[in-house]
Amino acid sequence: MPILDQNSIEFISRGTDYTRRVGIRLGTILKDGDVICLEGDLGSGKTTLVQGMAAGWGSLDRVTSPTFVLMNLYRRLDGGQFHHLDAYRLDNVGEARDLDLETYIETGPLVIEWAERIKSVLPADHLWVTLRIVDIEQRDLIFSARGSYYKSLLENFRARIYGGL
């Protein structure tokens, strides 16, 4: 469990709709170059959160789990791209640096499920989201910022959730 501090926000989600809505709020402020890392067990709501994020960002495409295909690309009317990577199968990080994450980061927001599996190749600055199963419906979501850019992104996000903007 990460320790909560001023660079973290915690929510208890009461269901998939709630998780999706939180994602939408985050998605509306995402920009090219943003890196969002998700960590959480099977069924903790990672793909649901990304569905919200992509919707908030303005995706025209349906968001599905990219586990098998590894990477999904979603499009927006203005030509923007949203990259959805899934590191679930990447047990062996030996060659993970070959993933060439920089290319994806340059051309849109990049969201990574199972990010803890490829920690060694992630940029130092990012938003880290930890999802935990509380019970059948409820999920504990903790958003933590690493680096000054993500601290301000998190503040913006906090304002959008709790008001004050």
């Binding site: 067990d41 099977l42 069924g43 793909t47 649901t48 569905q51 495409d61 349906r62 599905t64 789990s65 586990t67 098998f68 295909v69 590894l70 990477m71 999904n72 690309l73 979603y74 499009r75 679930y88 199968r89 990447l90 047990d91 062996n92 060659e95 070959d98 993933l99 060439d100 059948i136």
Partner: protein, 352 residues
Amino acid sequence: MTDTTQQPISIDGPIRLLGIETSCDETAASVVESGRKIISNIVASQVDIHAQYGGIYPEVASRQHIITIYPIVEQALQDAHITLDDVDGIAVTRGPGLSGSLVVGLNTAKGLALANQLPIIGINHLEAHIYSAWLDHPERRTEDDPKFPLLALIVSGGHTELALMTDHLEYQRLGGTLDDAAGEAFDKIARLLGLDYPGGPAIQQAAIEGNERAFSFPRAWLENTWDFSFSGLKTAVLREVRRLEETNLPLPINDIAASFQAAVVDVLVNKTLFAAREFKAKDILVAGGVSANQLLRTRFEENDEFTVHIPPLVLCTDNAAMISGAGYYRFIAGQRDELDIDALPNWPLSEI
């Protein structure tokens, strides 16, 4: 840019296309005559390579494609006892898939097309799965071809799509998965149960010894839509496994596998049959890697309302014969692509 439309084409004889497929973890090439007769069909699977990573690995995949693609094409031509002089065009997968992998196939096709003055036809991988049902296998006659309107279910590791086909090359996408693809659910549950990759065959094998009524896992019917969802089922199985682990008794892997498989198959079969009735389809077509699942095949074949077309096992998983197959119908419809066509990693059936 080469104007490929001016190439003389013999319409009288059979049309022979070289097909190339590299969208995911198979490197494949094939020669097919007139969308029907498989002359050669070579598939180099990377499953062994990816098994050590527990799944496909993108850079490894594209590197392997680069190494194997030319020998595979060469072998497909050799097995067909022809050279590129004897083919009328090259059909190649444009998407959906991993961009790095797609590019390898596309560049190979472009190089061969340019060097041999052949037209190139970019093919949608999902459409190609559908056309695997037209490829001949010894026991089928032409009059047994799928009939329109046709309800098509494409189920694989990466896709779960339901579409109505009103004619050749005419699709109306009805729905698809909202979260996990059916094959992906098999892989994830297999991993959870400590079974091998790929998960489909492993679950099927474990289920043989299991009781499919041992656990009552949820079926997401998503009424009033033609969509699917397997994420809730996945979570339910996970919860059951965690609960059982706390008892310290050995995990009833066979029963869990059987009950899980039954839940997936139930939804796939019943929703497809329901859609076929609703849209007054004549036939049903099931394709993609998960269509190799024996329970799914049996359950579809047991229905007495619709003729169900399911390709033979070798054509269920990714292959290039289906690319040539779909390529033929595109070719006779006049499609010729430019040599600068891009890979389309995201190319839904609704945008063909």
